[in-house]
Subunit: 361 residues, 2 copies
């Protein structure tokens, strides 16, 4: 029986590669003919350890990560990291670069736990831009600088790997991890909730430089301690095994697609199509974001009125273009076009945008 | 194509009802004809909110919980609760009842965060028993008393709902939640990692009395705060949506089976069959656990030698009786027979035990 699928622009939890879902479906009752689901086997079993090792290796190969980094999996989403990072690494102070909703949240959570410096904020510019490298001045004694490489809600993305003085860089890459190659050497710690580009919700990938990790505090409660996660290969307790399994399948899929270089080309092609339609719409579609900071993952825009925003979403839903509504805090339209979102769906959206503009402008 | 399944005695992640796996498989690419997997939809969507509400309601109905309790879902496993409970509720001191590996761990984690009193420990008895009610004396000024209702590794289970003076009772019920009816009024807080009786790993059910919840500290980091989870209906961030969905399906299955009264009868019948074989084996199979504290969920025993323990497991594997090896810290044999484990598999195990004894005693 063929299953009807839609074009799902959800910002997260978001579309997964259909090949991954099919594989998970096929193995649901019996992983590799074991007679058990991956959800039914011990995290300490040979079968699961193989999955964990394979997944870590795939991540290292895709992102070209050397043995000077640890690959860890935490539960709890990126939001838990907003607390764990200061709990583990904040001694004197930490510097924050705020370019949208999520980096603001990370800043506010860290504030509860220590001294924080806001070294850049685009809040006054309505989170429409990212800093130029020369805008940023670090506090040399800070323990780290934190930023968010792609702001899902605002549609703002850094086009370079941030560097601020000699500070260790900590990056929330939840919504653009693995969407393009990065220069891993520039990062002390990268974390990413899986539910956008990597897998299901409820699991977070953490890539951390071993040297930086060695500075983490000791004597923290086991489940709040980076060191305990590293010492126990992400398993101080039972991890989200289903999540790790799916991340592994997504990595397999990425490798089959040609790796991050190739996926980055496709992602750019997809984003360009929508931005082109926005730019050529004579102001009917408006992007608040400065062209140089436009996100390749989350294309945000609005129409001349709230009523038109709503009509746009409603009409789109009718033809299977789902979940285009912007985040409740900012309104407008948001097309999230992560790795797994097919080019075909973007073409359909652009056609729809053209038709809609003709009718309502 | 019929899929070969085995009898999976894994202690956790553990066997799930086959009907649940089949339903999840069937809906994998399209939840209720939405054209999207449950893993691909927003946690704020109508579709997912329905799942969350339905799951909470099922839990309330199955455990006969009134509106004076909150039903919450956390990520991170029961081990995360070992830290969160003291972080939120420990002001003066907390009392601990230790009857095995897990309650000991909870005690040790809490120790890092405040004053703790060990008011009972069966460590000297090799964790082979539970206290009589008269054994327990609370410190009247303590904030709560903590215990574990079923020790998965040791195979020790409380046969009554603990009461200690007037202290609020906090219970780790990870491995016997929903295996039998309980008197919910006796508990201030119950928590349970899902991966034994409820669903997949990476998600934890918390049932908390609203009155007790009101004593939780404020100003904690959002993701470490019970209050923020309650205020945001378990969604201060994106929860493990797949986990909640599966717990909902497991609850549907439990209701179809006749609820907790009926499942408790079946569980008792299953456990009795194995304990009877142990007791009638003339000491070939040995249970360390006092008969009145024997677990209905995890039946632990050992054979006359380590070699025989190993041979027992190896021979059992050959005929599809999988994962009978005891926890690495205690050795021996462990048959975990949670709700989803079929009576048929227990009968096969007992037959195998008889044959094995005849051959090797």
């Amino acid at each position: 029986m063929k299953e009807e699928r839609v074009f799902n622009f959800s910002a997260g939890p978001a579309i997964l590669p259909i090949e991954v879902l099919q594989k998970a479906k096929q193995e649901m009752l019996s992983l590799k003919r074991s007679g058990m689901s991956v959800m039914e086997i011990s995290h300490r079993s040979k079968e699961f350890k193989e999955i964990l090792e394979k997944t870590k290796l795939s991540i290292k190969q895709l992102l070209k990560i050397g043995d000077d980094y640890e690959i860890l999996f935490f539960s709890g989403g990126a939001s838990l990291q907003f607390a764990l990072i200061p709990l583990n690494f904040l001694n004197k102070s930490a510097d924050f670069v705020v370019t949208g909703h999520w980096s603001m949240k990370a800043f506010q959570e860290a504030k509860k736990l220590g001294v924080v410096n806001l070294i850049y904020s685009s809040e006054k510019e309505n989170f429409s831009t990212t800093p130029r490298k020369s805008d940023l001045k670090a506090n040399p004694s800070s323990d780290y600088v934190h930023y968010c490489s792609n702001e899902t809600i605002d549609g703002v993305e850094f086009k370079y790997d941030l560097e601020v003085g000699n500070l260790p860089v900590v990056c929330d890459a939840s919504s653009n991890i693995m969407s393009k190659p990065i220069d891993i050497k520039k990062y002390a710690l990268i974390y990413a909730g899986a539910q956008k580009n990597l897998g299901p919700s409820g699991i977070t990938l953490v890539i951390v430089q071993k040297d930086f990790l060695s500075r983490a505090k000791s004597n923290l409660p086991t489940m709040l301690s980076y060191k305990s996660f590293a010492e126990h290969d992400s398993m101080p307790n039972t991890p989200n095994t289903w999540g790790i399994y799916l991340i592994g399948l997504v990595c397999d899929w990425l490798r089959e697609k040609g790796g991050l270089e190739r996926i980055a080309e496709i992602n750019l092609e997809k984003a360009k199509l929508i931005y082109k339609e926005i730019d050529e719409s004579n102001g009917f579609y408006r992007s608040k974001v400065e062209p140089s900071s436009r996100s390749t993952m989350n294309v945000t825009f609005s129409l001349p009125s709230k009523e038109l925003d709503e009509k746009f979403c409603a009409k789109a839903e009718e033809i299977g273009l789902r979940n285009l509504k912007g985040h409740r805090s900012v309104g407008g339209i948001r097309a999230s076009i992560y790795n797994a979102f097919p080019l075909e769906g973007v073409i359909r959206l652009v056609e729809f945008m053209r038709d809609f503009r003709r009718k309502y402008s």
